[in-house]
């Protein structure tokens, strides 16, 4: 998917470059003072990429702008965003000490480990929800403008956790199988920021790119076998980085 997004980014840049001159020459501008529907696609990095095991962002938003001067405006956008659906990954710790379900992590100094052939810890994470953006936009050359502002994110982080853990001592199974099949979710509010450049490629269509930070709260299921305590969920407040491309259509 990240390769697809790279291609989309390159293609978007080519589209902007190829489509711009004709419109720029007309010296007209639009999108200020009006509403636009915007399609978003982007690539994630940092915590977001690591948590989701995926890099893609897809979204749809409605943007409104209020002109301050002929070349500047206040913009706001409500966006539904789906960050990755997350590649499934095997979280099984095939090495290192674990706890058997009888409460032991070692027997006579010999560590208890997982039986790899009979243990699976499958995880898949996703993040989606709404973001509210507010910011300032100013034209700096012809049909080009820049924008920057803050985002208020209300995103739901969801984990699919499904597994069977079989401790072993040496070559033999020890203790009991621990199984789990849960889909915990965590919805959190976060504040982020964005900055980017917009190109008005025709009266009705625009293209923009933004770098934005996204605030969210992750959740992770912890089986007994890894910790020696009753199964639990751990949460972390995170910020991720996204480079997005958005295509706008005039309402």
């Amino acid at each position: 998917m990240n390769r697809l997004l790279t291609w989309l980014g390159l293609t978007a840049a080519a589209v902007a470059a190829g489509s711009m001159p004709a419109w720029a020459q007309s010296a007209k501008s639009s999108g200020f003072g009006g509403l636009n529907i915007k399609l978003h696609a982007g690539a994630t990095a940092g915590n977001l990429k690591n948590d989701l095991h995926a890099q893609n962002l897809l979204g749809l938003g409605v943007e409104g702008a209020c002109a301050l001067t002929p070349t500047s405006s206040i913009v706001g956008e409500l966006t539904f965003s789906a960050y990755g659906a997350g590649k499934g990954y095997d979280n099984t710790k095939l090495t290192g000490t674990v706890w058997a379900s009888n409460g032991q992590s070692s027997v006579l100094g010999v560590p208890i480990t997982l039986a790899p052939s009979s243990s699976v810890d499958y995880r898949k994470n996703s993040l989606q929800g709404f973001s509210l953006r507010g910011g300032y936009r100013a034209t700096f050359q012809g049909a080009w403008s820049w924008q920057a502002g803050l985002t208020l994110d209300r995103l739901q982080y969801r984990q699919e956790a499904n597994g069977t853990l079989q401790p072993r001592l040496g070559g033999a199974a020890i203790g009991n199988l621990e199984g789990f099949a849960v889909t915990p979710t965590k919805t959190g509010m976060g504040i982020g920021a964005f900055a980017g450049v917009k190109a008005q490629i025709s009266e009705n269509f625009s293209l923009e790119t933004n770098l934005l930070s996204v605030g969210y709260t992750s959740i992770d299921y912890q089986p007994f076998t890894y910790t020696g305590v009753a199964p639990s969920y751990t949460t972390h407040s995170r910020h991720g980085v996204v480079l997005e491309v958005a295509f706008g259509l005039k309402l």
Binding site: V15, A85, G88, Y122, T164, F205
Partner: protein
């Protein structure tokens, strides 16, 4: 003549309503005004087009309006002249069933700077249309690549691009509808397989004979019936006054595909192998030609597809390949003697296709069109069904498929249209069959040490891919020896009148008949008896052993294993059994639906319009037993539209409609006479213990005394009031159109299906059917509507088309949706190959309900979530014209969320679920209950995505002759998608752990491997088309 402006009237991808979903012609409407906005009455409209015979000419009405109906798909030029005004000319593209609006403003002579002004305003779809669909011309589809499709028709690309469509293109799901509930029509005649619901467009139309393809998400006009999901409508070309034609070679080669690569599984072990590509050029040649026979009166169109004959060969089953070489007898391994192993099978694959069309235009107002298509096909089927070592059977599957249609279209006066259409789609398929030897054998691996090795090794050996679960070897095929005949007859007569009263009305009224027919075969005539035996010792052994059959009697103890439980898989696999089939009658099964409808589109004023329609359907099912079903249904349709500014640029619509579906014959297969088989299965009970017997003994029914199962025709009935499923749809949409071309549309869709089909054991009437031999009993089962089963779809669709410049177009759609249903059986989605099995076995859910269990007991977290929540399809197309050449490059991407998965473990007969007074050993009660882990459908398969590339090139050679080529590369980046979600489990009980989370204690199966490491799908492929056209 001075050209004032260049016309850009290309509507590259239309997403909008049409008048009639299954129409084959469209209309152009408009108003002619002067520069002050006043209408110009009496202006002369002249319409010419490549598909028109002659030209259409008319004068505008008092309000300046005009309407020209019955226009075939294609490109048109519309000219207007009026006294004291300079003329104007515009061009537009017409799609089947569309109403195109082309308003024109004329300048007065005083402003004249040219004789004719070329109008730059882009034609729009008119707001008076009453269905929602996405249309494509074939030129567009060949430029827009789709996901790799099977079935070989460019029309399928429309499904790969249209919003709200997921699933296999031949079994497409439209807006959450059942994958086999989508109807496929060619020239208004259903071409779908009426047994399987499969599209089969590749058998019915040729790429270059397709004029137009539409995916109809919402066929709102009451004229449209026969689908509770959506409709794919294809319209073919017809001849015109000019000779046109194509000669196309379609080329592909496995060696052009990316190499399959091995990968490591989760344990780091290499899995899969590098796939060696075969350098074998696949060629298909297609020819079309059309033109006048009598200019302006009679035209023809002919299309043909020729696929070079291919001879395929395979070595008939070699047991050594599967390590099935031995028979276990008396504690020893003996070489087995499968039938005719290692013999070479040769089969010829060939197909052809011919389409003929005549178009007769009596005058500009009346025409007759006749189509005939035949597509005979022979396919090798060298190893099928059971693995057969029999080289003597017919090893090909032959199909004779034909589609005929006849249509009359006429205009009476200036405001009345009449269309009458008849069609028949038929397919006769002869599946492989041959001389039957009623003995089916099983063998085991060499080196087996116990009787259970025979079963275990056969079941679990990874090399058994082509085999069914037991690895039986059979001689001869079990298919019917008579062809399977399927056909659908269609008849439609529609009357349309347009008149003014409190605004404008367009009324459709008519009758329709759809009659799918399944020519049944009495199975007991072809294959009544079958014996299953655990092996035959190689005749070469000699003496008393050679060539004789091993029998393990029920009740015996062999190798320490006792065969004393009829439910034991070892018993079912290894004790010889005798299956007897009898009692089926022969006769066609007919499933006609007769309909009448009336629909009024009332345009109140420039801003408001209302559509209201009513459709009455009477569905019957007739078999050898008589009329089994006779049900009647009414489907209301309603829509209101608000054109906010009265200029069609911002249009709001709210619609409500009910859409009845069609049955696939698989639905009622088990319950109709002719397809119903009485069947009994007995186990070997002859005295004598483990021993060897000869052929006469093993095929003597008298040696099989223990009845283990029976299926009786009397066990099945059909509710006389059984109805096809009903889809109630509510939509709220907004469409924005731009003067310079392009549009976007946002639609909220709610669909709710009722009258879903299910099989109910008839506990209520206590119709218990008992066989005394084993005390076996079962209840009579009734095929009927399930009053509690629901299926619900909620979606948000956004689709757009943006001409970024004169040569660059961006388009696509974004759909976010959810689909939930009671279970996978009742919603129609899985009425596929397993449908018959399902119907035979009944359905656990209803069994619970009929027994009085609370629904909460077995559906602890509600209905099954089945959706693929996000589906995105987009394309970017760049056109270049230079001198004599035209070319286009298109990038097309799709992203579709993984399907939802329900992880389940089966809990054995929880006593807490049993009604009071019922013992756990009551055989009429469920033996297990599925338990969904942490809710139903809460897990998900991996997402899929592709990036495809298409390049098309056209150069004028001489005169009208062009050379063209289309190159498509699907999955350009060779994305390999994991196939399924991991299902963890080792087959052992989880009861021991106090910390297991999210599921109930119980046993479960399916020790899985995490997705992303084992099974992957998707590979880069390439196709090249090249040819000449004129």
């Amino acid at each position: 003549m001075k050209i004032i402006a260049k016309l850009t009237a290309l509507s590259f991808l239309l997403a909008a309503p049409s008048l009639m979903a299954q129409d084959t012609t469209g209309s152009v409407v408009g108003v002619i005004k002067d520069g002050n906005g006043k209408p110009i009455p009496g202006a002369t409209i002249t319409l010419t087009g490549s598909q028109l015979l002659g030209e259409r000419r008319m004068a505008t009405a008092a309000d300046g309006s005009f309407r020209i109906p019955l226009l075939p798909s294609g490109s048109y030029a519309l000219s207007v002249t009026a006294k004291d005004f300079i003329g104007a000319k515009a061009t537009f593209s017409m799609h089947a069933g569309a109403i195109i609006r082309q308003d024109l403003t004329l300048k007065s002579m005083a402003q004249a700077s040219a004789v004719v002004e070329i109008i730059t305003t882009v034609a729009q779809l008119d707001k008076t249309e009453t269905t929602t669909k996405t249309s494509f011309s074939t030129d567009q589809l060949t430029e827009l690549t789709g996901s790799p499709v099977s079935g070989g028709s460019v029309a399928y690309q429309a499904l790969a691009l249209a919003p709200g469509v997921v699933g296999n293109v031949q079994y497409a799901s439209v807006r959450g509808g059942g994958q086999m509930a989508t109807n496929y029509v060619v020239n208004g005649i259903s071409s779908r397989d009426n047994v399987t619901g499969q599209a089969r467009l590749g058998d019915t139309v040729l790429d270059d004979s397709i004029e137009d393809t539409a995916v109809i998400q919402s066929p709102l006009n009451a004229k449209n019936g026969g689908s509770s999901s959506g409709i794919v409508a294809v319209v073919t070309k017809r001849g015109s006054n000019e000779f046109t034609g194509t000669l196309r070679a379609k080329l592909s080669n496995p060696a052009w595909s990316a190499l399959g690569t091995p990968f490591n599984n989760r344990l780091g072990v290499a899995s899969g192998t590098a796939r060696a590509q075969v350098d074998d050029l696949n060629r298909t040649y297609e020819l079309t030609i059309g033109g006048p026979i009598v200019k302006d009166v009679l035209t023809f169109f002919y299309g043909s597809r020729i696929t070079p004959q291919v001879t395929q060969s395979a070595t008939a089953f070699n047991p050594a390949d599967y390590d099935l070489t031995h028979v276990r007898f008396n504690g020893q391994n003996y070489a087995s003697a499968p039938f005719q192993a290692n013999q070479l099978q040769v089969a010829v694959q060939k197909s052809s296709y011919h389409q003929f069309q005549l178009f007769y235009q009596l005058n500009q107002n009346h025409s007759i069109e006749a189509n005939y298509t035949e597509a005979p096909e022979t396919l090798p089927d060298l190893q099928y069904n059971y693995v057969t070592p029999d080289a003597s059977i017919m090893n090909v599957q032959t199909t004779d498929k034909r589609l005929i249609s006849l249509a009359y279209r006429g205009m009476i006066g200036s405001n009345q249209l009449v269309e009458v259409r008849y069609g028949r789609n038929q397919s006769n398929t002869q599946f492989p069959s041959g001389p039957k030897t009623p003995v089916t054998l099983m063998a085991g691996p060499s080196g087996m040490t116990s009787i259970t090795d025979v079963w275990d090794a056969t079941l679990n050996a990874t090399s058994l891919a082509p085999m069914t679960s037991y690895g039986w070897l059979t001689e001869g095929a079990s298919s019917d020896i008579q062809p399977d005949k399927r056909s659908t007859q269609s008849f439609l007569a529609n009357y349309n009148v347009i008149f003014d009263w409190q605004g404008s009305h367009s009324i459709d009224a008519g009758v329709e008949r759809q009659e799918p027919i399944w020519g049944t075969v009495s199975r007991n005539n072809s294959y009544p008896d079958q014996f299953f035996v655990p092996g035959r010792i190689d005749p070469a052994v000699g003496g008393a052993l050679g060539g004789r059959y091993v029998v393990f009697p029920f009740g015996a103890t062999i190798d320490g294993y006792t065969f004393n439980d009829i439910n034991d898989p070892y018993v079912q696999a290894l004790v010889p059994s005798y299956q007897r089939i009898f009692g089926a009658d022969q006769g066609d099964v007919k499933n006609p639906t007769d309909s009448i409808y009336v629909n009024d589109l009332w345009t109140i004023n420039n801003s408001w319009s209302v559509m209201a329609g009513l459709r009455y359907d009477r569905m019957q099912l007739k078999d050898a037993k008589g009329t089994r079903v006779d049900s009647k249904m009414i489907s209301p349709r309603f829509e209101v539209k608000w054109d906010i500014n009265g200029d069609q640029k911002r249009l709001v619509n709210l619609s409500y409609g009910q859409f009845r579906g069609l049955f696939n014959a698989r639905f009622y297969r088990t319950a109709v006479e002719g397809r119903r088989n009485n069947q009994e299965t007995y186990l070997w009970t002859a005295p004598g213990g483990e021993r060897l017997v000869d052929y006469a003994t093993v095929t003597n029914p008298a040696n099989y005394g223990l009845l283990t199962s029976f299926v009786s025709g009397a066990m099945y009935d059909i509710d006389r009031n059984w109805k096809p499923e009903n889809n109630t749809e509510i939509t709220l949409g907004f469409r924005r159109s731009y003067d310079s071309g392009g549009y976007w549309r946002a639609t909220i869709v709610h669909r709710n299906w009722s009258d879903l089909t299910n099989v109910f054991p008839d506990y209520r009437n206590n119709l218990l059917i008992t066989d005394g031999a084993l005390g076996l009993n079962t209840y009579r089962r009734i095929l009927t509507n399930d009053p509690t089963a629901k299926r619900e779809y909620n979606g948000f669709e956004f689709d757009f088309n943006a001409p970024l410049s004169s040569n660059l177009t961006l388009g696509g759609n974004f759909v976010y949706s959810s689909l939930i249903g009671d279970n996978v059986y009742a919603d129609g989605t899985t009425f596929g190959g397993s449908a018959q099995v399902w119907a035979e076995q009944g359905n656990f859910r209803n069994r619970y309900q009929e027994l009085g269990y609370s629904k909460d007991k077995f559906e602890p977290v509600g209905r099954l979530t089945q959706s693929r929540p996000i589906a995105i399809k987009a394309f970017l197309s760049y056109h270049i014209e230079s001198g004599r050449t035209k070319s286009a490059v298109t990038l097309q991407a799709d992203f579709i969320s993984g399907t939802r998965v329900s992880l389940v473990n089966n809990i054995t007969q929880d006593p807490n679920l049993l009604p009071s007074g019922v013992g756990a050993d009551d055989t009429n009660h469920p033996t297990s209950i599925p338990n969904y882990w942490n809710g139903r459908g809460q897990f998900s398969n991996p997402d899929t995505w592709h990036l495809n590339l298409a390049y098309s090139f056209d150069i004028a050679l001489k005169g009208k002759v062009h050379f063209f080529t289309n190159l498509t590369i699907n999955n350009l980046l060779n994305s390999l998608i994991p196939q399924t979600v991991a299902q963890a489990g080792s087959g052992a009980a989880r009861a021991a752990s106090a910390y297991s989370t999210g599921y109930r204690v119980g046993s479960y199966n399916g020790y899985g491997t995490p997705a992303g490491t084992d099974a992957v799908t998707g590979i880069r492929t390439m196709n090249l088309d090249l040819g000449l056209k004129f």
